[in-house]
Amino acid sequence: MIRFGLGRKAGEPLPADPIGWLARQLDGTDPALLRPAPDTVTGLTALREDRKNPLMQGQPRRVYLVLRAGIDAAMDTLLATDTPFRERLVWFWANHFTISYRQGGVAAISNAYVREAIRPHVTGRFVDMLLAVMHHPAMLMYLENTGSTGPNSPVGRKRKAGLNENLARESLELHTVTPASGYTQADVTAYSAILTGWSVALQRNPPGFVFLNRAHEPGAKTVMGRVWPPGQDGGEQFLTWLGTHPATMHNLAVKLVRHFVADTPPPDDVARVEAVLRDTGGDLHAAAMAVLALPQAWMPLTKLRTPMDYVVAALRLFDLPATAKLNPSGWMNQLGQPFMGADLPNGWADTAAGWAAPAMIMRRIDWAAAISGRARGHDPRVLAQAALGPLLPADTMQRIAGAGSRQEAVAMLIASPQFQRR
């Protein structure tokens, strides 16, 4: 519940068969997709309207209203979900394919991106997720492919427009094969030519992805020693090859094991997950099951919770009524991890080194002390048992039992080193 989930809710029963409980969470459709939330058409329409019609003084931008609705839906899911393992996988993959609501005008579609490009493929094939991501307006806008133009295309010749390498470079470096695969600057340039014309039609109804043939670089392109035909179809062929490349499988295995097992991924564990990915053509359901089966994944907890995990785990534990005024995304921001707002395309750090600076740990303690006032309805000893049970050392349990107030007792629990682990 801690390593593979989002922490135990007060009163939630312990599963009798942990692996079965986790495995069942991956069956069927993601339940979060059954809840309503704004889609990409809604978000892009809000962006278009914001640009076309200036707002009255003091009136919120339409994109903010859509962003807020999207964040609310995502937070409700995180706090309430009965499939926390699936949810962890969703945010693992969303971080792998990072976008940021702060950049590229994607605020109003950042949550739709997760619902449309990530969630449907978390238990599917990696290559399908890659194709969905690369066709999604959020990624095309975030990494600035929308204006990238073939210099020899009709649009390019007329306007003297040209390539923008950003998406192609990060796609190779971060999303798929990594620099260890040995690609060159020429490969980056040719891949960006493949992606010319992959854009977003904001003025069309409905607005969305568009392939602009007139902006697409004509002719075949050679990337990583292979020749790829022109057109949208040629790009999809290349992405399909890239999404099943052995170097991609290795990258994904390293990241999965680092996320669920240890900051320094044990090579044997990486090899097992990599073999499953390779043998199944990149089946992410099989890869998740392979991670569950790693003996190392059932050793004592070593990973430090990220601020997002930390806030979610505390609030799930408190299990507050829907009327409680919670601001989980604001608190994640205070603790250094604004929700869907990573600084750079490599996403959030997945190691303790990224989160354990003394000043950041002090912020966690201050937040723990403040938020614990929300848990006054609970007996702190019961909460401590529910949250950590045998993982909590006896002397810490004694301190909690002997604290001067309920709030202080809960603060000690939430700020304890054990609660900060997963």
Partner: protein, 427 residues
Amino acid sequence: MPHHASPGRRALFCPEDGQSRATRPFAITRRAALLGLAGAVTLGRASLALAAAPTRQRFVVVLLRGALDGMSAVVPYGDPALADLRGPLLPPPPGSAADPKTGDALLDLGGFYGLHASMAGLHGLYRADQLLPIHAVAGNWRMRSHFEAQDCMESGADHRMTSGWLNRAASQLQVGHPAEGKTPMGNAVAFSPGLPLLLRGPSRVGSWLPDMSVHPDVALYRAIADMSHDDPLLGPAVAEGLRERGFSDAAMAGAPAPRGFGFTTLASAAGKLLAAPGGPRLAALEVGGWDTHVGQVRRLAYPLGTLDAGMIALKDGLGEAWTDTAVLVITEFGRTARINGTQGTDHGTGTIAFLLGGSVAGGRVLANWPGLKPSNLFENRDLAPTTDLRAVAKGVLAAHLGLTPAALAKVFPNSADAAPLAGLIRA
């Protein structure tokens, strides 16, 4: 209202008209503040880390993550080949009227180079002989990946190391000084996760963030410190965090409470902490927002202005200690000499570094200018690097902090080919 654009006018959609990333943050409306988003409206996460050293001199390194286009910050307007490469992005030369598309005229730096108009504060330092721009620099790494190149920039090598060069410099300064460990920011224990690689390593390092408004009771801190004591990661973090907060609360006493998470706030705090008696002497600041692949003219003005304001805030925070200060501003690589297809630039090689401070021998631009004809460019693409960034850093460490050649060789391993540059620091 449905809007049907004709196919010919179904123009390429440039997000936010090219101003999107970082340079035009959302207007902070009351609504945004209510959403808990206001604090996130920054140039990416700025950070501040500090280390002690037994010296009177102050040394600050500012990391510009995302690759600053050196040819836009310090424009070589005297190079005749520049207009062919950069025409639509070029601001007017010094003394000219502002251009509606490319902005205000450059600020002159001696007749060949011009400083971007957003950096009037730095221009003032230049005129006071306290700013030394160093052009066409690059480290000895040649990859064009942000993340690999940043690791190299912070390691001070052409590969990622487990420690950063500024931490190794702190260690070398501490050799033969048994007294440290007694100062509030001393070097008794090695502890440095969560910090930029530049300052990770054997010497103890601290960090600083603006406090949240409410602090719990001291007894609760003590209980949590006790509970964390045996934890190898969180034990030292909590102990160090409490010590730093005690120190910084004292150093900041009397100053108005800093607000926000921004770079200027951190730079101002860095100045005050570095100025304090017994305080740290080395600092690393970082700030993002430089990756200008699209609409560069509009997108660069804001981060350049922020850098400029931050440097002046740092100077003001330092007060009299500015006299003993050198600040080195560096970025992982430069950007393509030519404009790309979206009025921006892609990842390149040679770029600018800034050295500034009361100790700096400024008032000039230091460069072995390679020229901008296609045959002069690195791989017919980028500004060719003619000065090694390691030689710049070594020159500062030698002249400003007094590191010996043997110490420099430990700070920058295998850097015999990058001899320390002389004359960077006022004699």
